[in-house]
Amino acid sequence: MKQVLNLRVNGLHKQLYVEPYWTLDKTLREELGLMGVKTGCATGACGTCTVIVDGRAIRSCLFPALRAEGRDILTIEGLQGEDGGLHPLQQAFIDHFAFQCGYCTPAMILTAKALLDENPEATEQEIKEYLSGNLCRCTGYVKIVEAVLDARDKMKQGSRE
């Protein structure tokens, strides 16, 4: 039987009716149409379902939907820069052509955001380690790391101005 779920998604309060066995990825995609949340391996290995829950990167495919009660969820659809345009990470991914097919991109950007929020000074090695749980089957990792380094520098400059 469906149950009520109250949560915030991308800054907006949502009330949904979900089956107790649904996971968060399915709920975000099918109830809210947020197709930037991808379901890849569905067992936590590939990282493409990553969303930000209360500021932390989480695998939404392993996260029971009802566990999201009262939580704050950020998906790629809700990510934006301070001026309402693209977030520096999104712009950097474009500038560095850090995607080919794009399937892993939303989760790459969100995971990188969680890292830079936690550690604005992250080194290249720290970026590689943090993103090691996100697979890119086009193997475009070099450009992805370059994009995150660039976004890191621009975000540091932005916060200084």
Binding site: P20, G44, T50, A57, L66, R67
Partner: protein, 327 residues
Amino acid sequence: MKFEYLVPRTVAEAIGLLRQYGGQAKVIAGGTDLMSGMRQKLTRLRGVKYLVDIANISGLGSLREEQGQLGIGALATLRTLERSPLMREKCSLVAQAASQVGSVAIRNAATLGGNLCQETKCLHYAGIYRWGPAPCYHGGGAVCYAVSGAGSCQAMATNELAPALICLDAEARVAGSDGERIIPMEDFFIEPGDTSLAANEILTEVKFSSPSSGRRVAYLKHTYMGIPGIAVVGVAAVLVVDGVICQDARIAFIGGSTKPLRAHKAEEVLRGDRLSDAVISRCGEVAAREAHPVSDGRASAQYRRSMVKVLTRRVITQAAADRGIQG
């Protein structure tokens, strides 16, 4: 995958639910192990109709230090253990082991309790070689697809926090219908994927004496091709060194036997001796002889045994160079 989702607010309420629903109920903490197992329809999880979410029980995730004892709540996430100033300062061994599990997003959810109570990661039960016509021993059948002719489940232990906790002489606090009991970490594991927890018991905390000054620690893990993932072998060591003589040692490993194992004989090699290259080398060889590995698709028995030797050597060398806790 269908289940009812139950959210108890107290340990007593959770135990009541486990008793009420018996084998149809399963505890969910971080969910990284259980949910992927449910998704893969693992044989042991097919009858699960109720998930008992213990994440909302207050106090089960806290880290505390009281009267010389460190306590880690069963719900503490591995990311918390990795970053906690208390753990990094007082017990870097636990922080080191936690930091090497999975990826950040997994460690943000995965808990200490879940790591200790995890399902076996044997590729013939829960992985790509799951092709057998009948369930294996682990799924209640009478065959092992990893080791032909074996009389029981031969899955190698992969509980990455276990070697560190065994080396720290940790104890598990377990709550059940009849109150609380304490289980030494070495006795906590029984068979692959099985702990000494009864069906209606919950692991609430792991505690151990706050490491004293001069204790030196290290944990090393080896994975398939060296990429982040499930441990092929992991070895932890705690050394007490007085001047140049090793007074006491604890060595424990995973990946070399069906449960996390303490290497008693290898420890004996170090006790009362200088930590010379020759002694460390002999210690590794003895540890390798204490392992009973099998070939299971993730690594061959011979390779696992060799890696127990190599990692034991490296972990002792690294621990010997550890500054230990100052003061």
